[in-house]
């Protein structure tokens, strides 16, 4: 009996002391699903957010709000809180959108601090650059699509799987910001006539500001170099066959294996990407008469791959950034040299010699000759 009394009194005590402060009833929250950061004409920050509306009486299913004259996301949240019928919470944010202009002018890292510091906020947030204005994308009238934030997340996921864009989530972004050997990047989207388009990816400087954009084709080669591809990888090349004969061949790469040789010769880093892969021909829109020529196909693909990749690296090197993560190899294999170079790795990388040596074996030509 005594035991029961003690248990009951403990229970009552617990009931009475437990704070109700932590309770956030789901239906009373205002889930932020997308956050957009943009600059107005006077370079003042504008923060956008969208949140779903649960109430059946409301006619609008998604609510888009904007906050002007704020310095940080926390401040914006206070403003949103004052406008919403629920607590604005950041635990389910799906996408972060930055306008290109914002990234050119501002360092995004300092704005994102609250998402790292407050454990309640989400980190699985896809980050994307908008070529144009953020509000245009968020306000896009997509009749046949789900909620914009969910749609953008899925869109980037799908296009990433077909190697047309990168997928950077907030935690990856932080890893790359803090890692001296790699620079961050994110997907790039654009508002088309009626649809939202993924245009490729945007490469950022080491501090997170905008550097250059890559188109979809270039992005796929970047992904190849980052070893971040879902096999099989489709590739398409235009082939100049001489005699004014232009043709296109498409192939898919499979069983890709990488070996990266790192060296340091004469004050210069030297990297050699050795990519081995099997290829399956999937399309060829010109005619060749002999089988012999088909056998040269492997060489053709190798050559084109080498060119495309090396061109890409050169382009990147011009901006003194390293989205390929070769700095990791420098650190792992040439630590002494890396130690001197790590604080300005971009510069060092710009001087590095990067070669790509693909080795392709044609596995099959398909079912027709």
């Amino acid at each position: 009996m005594k035991k029961v009394m003690v248990l009951i009194s403990i229970f009552i005590l617990g009931m009475s002391t437990a704070c109700a402060e932590d309770k956030i009833y789901l239906e009373e929250t205002s889930l932020t699903l997308a956050i957009g950061l943009d600059l107005d004409d006077n370079n003042n920050l504008i923060v956008y957010q969208t949140n779903p509306v649960f109430s059946e009486e409301a006619t609008k299913k998604v609510d888009i709000k904007s906050a002007y004259n704020v310095q940080t996301l926390r401040q914006a949240r206070e403003i949103f809180n004052a406008m919403s019928n629920g607590n604005v919470v950041g635990g389910k944010v799906q996408v972060f959108l930055f306008s290109k202009r914002f990234l050119q002018e501002e360092n995004p890292v300092k704005y994102l601090d609250t998402f790292l510091r407050d454990p309640k906020n989400a980190v699985n947030v896809v980050m994307a650059v908008v070529d144009g204005s953020v509000s245009e994308v968020l306000n896009a009238k997509l009749e046949d699509k789900p909620r914009i934030a969910v749609y953008l997340n899925n869109l980037i996921e799908r296009t990433h799987r077909t190697e047309s864009t990168v997928r950077t989530e907030l935690d990856d972004f932080y890893r790359k910001i803090y890692d001296k050997g790699v620079t961050p990047y994110m997907s790039e989207i654009k508002m088309g006539e009626t649809e939202i388009l993924v245009t490729g990816c945007a490469l950022l400087n080491d501090n997170g500001t905008y550097a250059i954009s890559l188109n979809k084709q270039e992005t796929s080669f970047l992904l190849l170099l980052q070893q971040d591809v879902d096999e099989p990888v489709p590739i398409t090349f235009n082939i100049n066959k001489g005699n004014g004969n232009n043709g296109t061949i498409s192939a898919t790469l499979d069983n890709i294996s990488y070996k990266i040789v790192t060296d340091y010769i004469e004050d210069k880093f030297y990297f050699d990407f050795q990519i081995e892969a099997d290829a399956v021909l999937s399309e060829r829109n010109y005619f060749t008469n002999t089988e012999e020529k088909l056998n040269q196909l492997a060489e053709v693909i190798e050559l084109r791959l080498k060119h495309e990749c090396e061109d890409l690296v050169k382009e990147i090197q011009e901006y003194e950034i390293d989205p390929t993560g070769l700095g990791l190899y420098a650190r792992a294999y040439k630590y002494d040299k890396w130690k001197n170079a790590k604080n300005n790795w971009g510069e060092t990388f710009a001087n590095a010699e990067v070669t790509v040596t693909p080795k392709i074996e044609i596995k099959s030509f398909g079912v027709i000759k």
């Binding site: 932590d22 309770k23 956030i24 789901l26 929250t29 889930l31 779903p52």
Partner: protein, 511 residues
């Protein structure tokens, strides 16, 4: 004056309790009429007591047959006792023993024994000139036919259940274990009721310490009478403050036999169809006899399903509350949006919503249990419609809550033992309150409390948590999954049997 006194004490059987006791301590006298006098004094106001006076035809002795009507078998009294005594005549009568055509007879001179025997359905034969009484086993009372027990029906096992007669029940068990090592110890419990309790065990298997513990506990019982096995269970279990049943009550003879073979002890209580088995472990409440007659892969899957049911029955409503109240983050977005929309119409906090539905469900279950089958069905339909449809449409509860409640109900019905299933169902209420106060942390702390309690429980001084804590790998062959029969060559360690190996036991029997 005396007359007045007897009027005041009218209903008592004897002048005073002490006097009756004094009489009971005496021996049977040689004088028949004295004996009958004593009986009449002992059993006053008992119209069902029958005293039949007659003369034994062979020896011409005066005799009287005493029995309690209703507890005896009329056929055996008339045909096998009275008839031979009244009519048969044998020439070479040498023994002093009268002619009675009854298998079990014994003579006694103790009134105490006679009294007990009469209440058990024996008939007492007094013969003038003899200072003893012959007790004939003429038991016979209305009995139920052997039926399959309702709470423990099985698909493939035997379709017999225990009835309210201990003798029959023991016979049913013996049919499964025809072995002379199956010993029966008889004890009597209850000051007034003197209920017969038989302890069944395999003498060369059972752990003597566990047996001694069981016997000691039964001897320590101080109670008026035992009406049902459940009362004994509560009187001898280790911790009656616990929510978990520590001993098993079953109505299936095959289950009892298999438990006895595992080295456990069975307690057959007269006048009750439930047989008590101990020591038990937590996990053994999730096993059925069917497990051993279905294919082992299927049986293992079903067992795992039951344990899944256990978790769902305890945690699902509390997880729902925790998620809606504290941790919306853990649910993927699509599901979360659905949840949010279905919650938006409900005016109560989730804990109220859940408590309302769960309590209503428990009421529905309890109502259906006691009602006759046609009415019970009606209750089920009304309840189903109200829970399923109207409550949602009226905006009192959310769709998801209805699903949660139904899933919980189904999951709790999958637990084969009724006692355990009820305990589990009760457990989810404190869990729900904890979830509403502290979210996941509350649920985990609640789980920790339950686990700590489970692990510190003991059943007849053997750990209740085996084989989970203390861990016993050998017992895991027959816990969450059941290995093929030939792999189960050892008796479960949890019952601490003397003889561990199940077959080839002549090799190391008497270990």
């Amino acid at each position: 004056m005396r007359f007045l006194k007897s009027l005041v004490r009218g209903n008592k059987s004897y002048k005073s309790g002490e006097q009756a006791k004094e009489v009971l301590e005496h021996c049977v006298s040689t004088n028949l009429s004295n004996n009958l006098m004593t009986i009449k004094h002992l059993f006053t106001e008992m119209p069902d007591l029958v005293i039949r006076n007659f003369t034994i035809s062979q020896t011409s002795e005066q005799a009287a047959l005493v029995y309690i009507d209703g507890l005896i078998d009329k056929v055996s009294i008339n045909e096998h006792i009275l008839h031979p005594l009244l009519h048969e005549y044998r020439s070479n009568q040498t023994s002093s023993h009268p002619l009675v055509a009854i298998g079990s007879t014994r003579s006694t001179c103790s009134w105490l024994e006679i009294e007990d025997a009469l209440f058990l359905g024996y008939s007492a034969l007094f013969i003038n000139g003899r200072s003893e009484c012959i007790l004939c086993d003429s038991q016979g009372w209305p009995q139920r036919a052997l039926e399959e027990p309702q709470t423990e029906s099985t698909l493939k096992g035997a379709h017999q259940g225990f009835i309210e007669t201990a003798k029959q029940n023991i016979a049913l068990i013996r049919r499964y274990i025809p072995n002379r090592e199956l010993k029966i110890k008889e004890l009597k419990v209850g000051k007034r009721g003197k209920t017969q309790i038989s302890i069944l065990y395999l003498a060369d298997v059972v752990n003597p310490e566990v047996l001694r513990e069981m016997i000691n506990r039964i001897n320590d019982i101080r109670v008026d009478a035992i009406i049902n096995t459940g009362e004994i269970e509560e009187l001898i279990e280790d911790n009656s403050f616990s929510i978990f049943p520590q001993l098993l009550v079953t109505e299936r003879p095959d289950a009892v036999a298999s438990h006895i073979l595992q080295g456990r002890i069975a307690l057959v209580v007269d006048a009750s169809p439930g047989v008590l088995i101990g020591p038990m472990t937590f996990t053994s409440f999730f096993q059925t006899v069917d497990d051993y007659s279905t294919r082992w892969i299927v049986a293992s899957t079903l067992r795992l399903l039951r344990f899944l049911g256990l978790f769902i029955a305890i945690f699902l409503p509390s997880l729902y509350i925790a998620v809606i109240t504290f941790h919306y983050e853990v649910i993927p977005l699509q599901l979360l949006l659905t949840l949010g929309q279905s919650r938006a119409i409900v005016p109560f906090p989730p804990i109220i919503e859940a408590l309302m539905m769960e309590i209503f469900l428990e009421m529905l279950r309890e109502a259906g249990l006691r009602l006759p089958a046609p009415v019970g069905q009606a209750v089920g339909i009304v309840g189903g419609i109200v829970i399923g449809q109207a409550a949602v449409q009226a905006g009192l509860v959310s769709n998801i809550m209805v699903i949660v409640v139904s899933m919980t109900a189904i999951a709790s019905f999958i637990i084969p033992n009724y006692d355990m299933s009820t305990s589990i169902r009760l457990l989810r209420f404190p869990m729900m309150v904890l979830a509403a106060l502290f979210g996941m942390v509350g649920i985990v702390v609640g789980t920790m409390t339950v686990v700590g309690h489970l692990l510190s429980l003991e059943s007849l001084k053997t750990p209740y948590g085996t084989p989970i804590g203390p861990v016993n790998f050998a017992d895991h062959k027959d816990t969450f999954i059941r290995f093929p029969m030939w792999k189960l060559d050892r008796r479960p360690y949890s019952a601490k049997p003397k003889q561990l190996t199940r077959f080839n036991w002549d090799k190391d029997s008497g270990e």
